[in-house]
């Protein structure tokens, strides 16, 4: 008679353990991947975001040359891929400085001294050759061209649109989440351990069942996470991202796909742990039977 309530207690605590494991996986994923600066570095490398940003700026300056008469070479002889790569990394670093509470606001800027020099030289040369008067209007035009170009470079280099996220207040909300993330991971891990101990305690009289219940929790948690990850990957769900700009598309979709891949790997590892649990349980049963 005692067996049925004991069985349901095992089922109940296993169910709790399943969700506790899922929460632990998700918080770990957030801490180690989603809100980790290294993840963004990997996306920048994998998706070739430096090249895409450079191509975009090249097109911008070429197009602008059609209406301004300032050759794209004036900008592109100083705005190279190295400068863009450093800018991208700086935007990521600064955003994480803010997210981790090391700075009070998101401050991202780049060193444009060389570009300003290049544009000024072009203006001066043009004015000298064509006898153009270097008056207030000349100065206004020079300032406008430099400001517009800097604004565009900062916009393009900010691959993940941290500036927009900051201005809309979303980065501030994420900052709060990051602040609680370590606590959340610790709590989830502690709850998982407590639940596992409870299951061990429930089965102390028949310890052979412990790997089964623990394995079942891990297996179920792994399956529940892996199925949606598999579906998202298989259907290429993120490729329907509505922003079609190649650079933003690659940054966002690359980031999301990498995140899902890591969640999937984590889920597969959890499934494997579950299978090991089942295997251990089967082996113990066989061993017990042989002894009997």
């Amino acid at each position: 008679m005692k067996r049925i309530p004991h069985y349901f207690l095992n089922v109940l605590f296993t169910l709790f353990l399943v969700f506790s494991l899922i929460c632990t996986e998700m918080t770990l994923l957030m801490q180690r991947s989603a809100l980790n600066v290294n993840m963004f570095h990997v996306v920048v490398q994998q998706e070739g975001l430096t090249d895409k940003a450079y191509d975009k700026l090249e097109t911008y300056f070429k197009t602008r040359a059609n209406s301004t008469g300032i050759p794209e070479a004036v900008f592109l002889r100083v705005v190279d891929k190295e400068m863009i790569y450093n800018g991208i990394m700086e935007s990521v670093t600064q955003s994480f400085e803010y997210l981790n509470g090391n700075t009070s606001e998101y401050q991202f800027t780049m060193d444009f001294t060389e570009m300003e020099q290049s544009v000024t030289e072009f203006f001066e040369e043009y004015a000298d050759v064509n006898g153009y008067q270097k008056d207030d209007i000349y100065q206004e035009k020079l300032t406008a061209v430099i400001e517009e170009s800097e604004k565009e470079i900062l916009f393009v280099v900010d691959n993940f649109k941290f500036t927009m996220l900051y201005e809309k207040g979303w980065l501030a909300k994420l900052r709060q989440v990051v602040g609680y993330l370590n606590v959340a991971v610790t709590v989830c891990l502690a709850v998982t351990i407590v639940l596992a101990v409870i299951i061990v305690f429930l089965n102390k009289k028949k310890m052979i069942n412990i790997p089964y219940w623990l394995g079942l929790s891990a297996f179920t948690a792994g399956v529940l996470v892996s199925v949606p990850c598999f579906w998202v990957t298989h259907t290429n769900y993120f490729s329907g991202f509505v922003v079609t700009d190649p650079q933003i598309f690659s940054a966002v979709v690359g980031y999301l796909n990498l995140l899902v891949n890591r969640a999937f790997v984590m889920a597969v590892v959890t499934i494997c742990i579950g299978i090991v649990g089942f295997g251990g349980f089967g082996a113990l049963c066989l061993f017990q039977r042989t002894e009997e």
Binding site: V11, T14, L15, V18, F19, I22, D55, T59, Y60, K62, T63, R64, A65, N66, S67, T68, G69, I70, F123, Y126, N130, Y132, Y138, K141, L142, A144, V145, E148, Y212, L216, F219, T220, A221, V223, L224, Y237, F238, G240, F241, V242, T244, D245, P246, F249, F281, C285, Q288, R289, E292
Partner: protein, 233 residues
């Protein structure tokens, strides 16, 4: 006895595993239902794009398909095949569907339906908020001042401007030369009168201008090509 007990327990363990999976899935679905309902619309909007992937034709821009057309006749092919009534062919975004010509200033420019930096690199662009050439209303076409519309300011009142398409020839006459700020929409808005509006940036040394210069042209004649059988009738 012990052996038979072990055998009886095996299905229980298997069924428990299946039950646990189903129960966990049901609980998850129940828990996630509310946030999913809340964010479903946003998810749908964010990942709804079914446009084709970037191609060589689109200059790397997803969804943009640029179609060039060298089959547009740029001279009248005989009065017998033209009529004042006819059907227009509605273009897709990125289609080159006309050739803009002004003999007086030696202008001959391909016209694309829609406007984007990639299309402006290839010719003049017709804004999609204006009417398709041949329909009644304002046909608005623009191009860069340093490329295709560099000589636009040379058009004089009275000059003839012709739009050649695959379905007809549409002739206009320059009526007014205008200058306006880029924020001023008066000249590019739809209108009831049949007219053609051509504009570009005001040429400026060193830097861009917010001033636009343009030409407003009145419709002079509208001639549609007729299908073979219809023409013979």
């Amino acid at each position: 006895m012990a052996k038979s007990k072990q055998k009886n327990h095996a299905p229980v363990f298997i069924l428990t595993a299946v039950f646990m999976l189903v129960l966990s899935a049901a609980v998850s679905a129940g828990v996630l239902m509310i946030p999913y309902e809340r964010f479903r619309t946003y998810l749908h909007i964010a990942f709804m794009n079914q446009m084709p992937a970037p191609s060589e034709q689109s200059n790397g821009v997803t969804g943009l398909v640029i179609t060039e057309n060298d089959q547009i006749p740029t001279e009248q092919t005989g009065q017998g095949t033209l009529s004042e009534e006819g059907n227009i062919i509605r273009p897709s975004f990125g289609d080159q569907y006309a050739v803009l010509s002004c003999e007086k200033i030696g202008l001959s420019v391909p016209v694309y339906w829609g406007s984007s930096p990639e299309l402006l690199e290839r010719g003049a662009c017709q804004t999609t908020s204006s009417v398709v050439i041949g329909e009644t209303g304002n046909v608005v076409i623009d191009a860069h001042v340093n490329t295709f519309f560099s000589d636009l300011n040379q058009i004089q009142v009275g000059d003839e401007v012709v739009l050649y398409t695959e379905y007809g020839i549409f002739t206009y006459q320059a009526k007014e030369l205008v200058t306006f700020e880029n924020t001023e929409k008066k000249y590019v808005l739809p209108s009831v009168e049949d007219k053609l509006t051509l504009y570009t940036c005001q040429a400026q040394v060193l830097g861009t201008s917010t001033t636009r210069v343009g030409v407003i042209c009145d419709m002079v004649s509208r001639k549609f090509y007729q299908a073979g059988e219809e023409a013979q009738r």
